[in-house]
Amino acid sequence: MIKDYYFLLSSITSAVKGEKILEKNGYRAHVFKDSSINPYGCGYIIKARGNRENMEEILKNGGVRINEIREA
């Protein structure tokens, strides 16, 4: 299902990497910081719109470690 999702990461490098990978695959994504949403250390989150499973697979194949995925 197409929705907005939050991908919770543990570092800024993972967040920027993930954002670029999603954009290369045609998704609209952007990184922001909110420690109240992301408790996993850095507070950086990728917000992206699309199919959750597809985006998750793309990120995992790209070597991005995701701590949690939430609906935005």
Partner: protein, 389 residues
């Protein structure tokens, strides 16, 4: 001034590098990986772009496995200390810089590791590899090799050594201080587990920049502890690269300049750069070889076998005195021992040292011609040959 001290640091830097450093203060002035405002995010993306550029240049597809350091020495120390603290045996070459020798010597003195020094054979790659192989032991953890001697330019057979290390179950660390930016380095294809490079030499970036690239991130241990921007409430240093190895604020102006330097290397091609430098170095070497009154310690710096480095002295002068005479004639070269005790003992130049001319990508043929004319005139002028120090 005629600048021929590029093995110490490249100079001048390309305009694109100077512009990138300058622009960083205007457009990338916030702290990346700390805050969430737009300037911090823009800076974080710029920093990431440099990691991607370095990955493209050295054949590594995970930008997170590329760590910024302040120079090549810091990167080498980080790898050697990470691997060495668990003990084992190491093999290095007889051309290694003190940035490899000294951390290993320290670990040996603490009773943690042992290491052997492999004899190298100029131009005979197979004999050099055999020399390493003969020193392999069941507890050998890592082979460390420089891409090229910073004193004599002698290149080592990098891919063959990487293959040898892996065949024996050991790791391979390449010190790319003298070859990064002027020779193709492919971490994947050449079995390189760890690559350490300065940002300010062949990569044309500002001083105060270096890189540690690894395919074995799980083996790295933090050497400096502190703020990383992640897991802030935990006292334990986070294990995730690159942040684990990058505590404290990054040198963003340096990284912006380094990224521009790598861009230039990528656009020109490292082998094109290296071959052009070798042509100039060979011209200088040939002219010096024809001159009386010069003692050359390094072989003709052909691209396949040598970095563009020439070690020599004028008359009976020491390396330091020769460099001083050149400096008085507005030529920048380095005299002395070049932080490379092993190389000088190997060549029996440990008393006199050498004067080193090192060619960089910004040197022109006209500069090489002028250099030769000045050295020729120094030699002709007998008064200058008197040691007046």
């Amino acid at each position: 001034m005629l600048y021929f001290d590029n093995s110490a640091t490249s100079y001048p830097k390309p305009k694109s590098v100077m512009d990138a450093v300058s622009e960083s203060f205007l457009y990338y002035g916030a702290n990346p990986g700390r805050s969430g405002h737009s300037l911090a995010m823009k800076t974080a993306e710029k920093v990431f772009e440099c990691r991607e550029n370095a990955g493209k240049l050295f054949g590594i597809s995970e930008p997170e496995n590329i760590v910024f350091t302040k120079n090549c020495t810091e990167a080498l120390n980080a790898v050697i200390m990470s691997i060495g603290e668990k003990g084992g045996h190491f093999i290095i070459s007889d051309l290694e810089h003190n940035s490899v020798l000294r951390p290993l010597y320290e670990l040996k003195n603490r009773g943690i590791i042992s290491f052997s020094v492999a004899e190298t054979f100029e131009g005979d790659f197979e004999k050099t590899v055999k020399s390493y192989e003969n020193l392999m032991r069941s507890d050998t953890k890592m082979i460390v090799a420089t891409g090229a001697s910073n004193v004599f330019g002698t290149k080592l057979p990098v891919s063959m050594l990487g293959k040898t290390a892996h065949e024996h179950g050991a790791l391979f660390l390449l010190d790319g201080a003298q070859t990064a930016g002027s020779e193709k380095i492919d971490m994947e294809g050449e079995n390189i587990d760890f690559l350490c490079v300065p940002g300010h030499k062949g990569l044309l970036g500002p001083m105060g920049t270096g890189l540690l690239l690894t395919k074995r991130p799980e083996l790295m241990e933090p050497q400096i502890f502190g703020g990383t921007g992640n897991f802030s409430l935990l006292p334990k240093q986070p294990k995730e690269l690159p942040e684990m190895m990058e505590s404290g604020t990054l040198n963003v102006p340096g990284i912006c300049g380094l990224s521009a330097g790598i861009d230039k290397v990528l656009s020109e091609g490292e082998e094109n750069i290296g071959k052009r430098e070798a042509e100039l170095a060979c011209y200088i070497w040939d002219e010096l070889d024809k001159m009386g009154g010069i003692k050359l310690f390094s072989s003709r710096p052909e691209y396949r076998t040598h970095a563009p480095v020439i070690s020599f002295v004028i008359g009976d002068f020491s390396g330091e005195e020769t460099a001083r005479i050149l400096s008085e004639n507005n030529i920048a070269a380095r005299g002395g021992f070049h932080c490379s005790a092993l190389a000088h003992f190997k060549a029996n130049t440990e008393k006199r040292g050498t004067c080193r001319i090192s060619v960089g990508t910004m040197n022109s043929f006209d500069e090489a011609v002028k250099l030769i004319k000045i050295i020729a005139s120094i030699i002709k002028n007998n008064n200058c040959l008197q040691n007046n120090s």
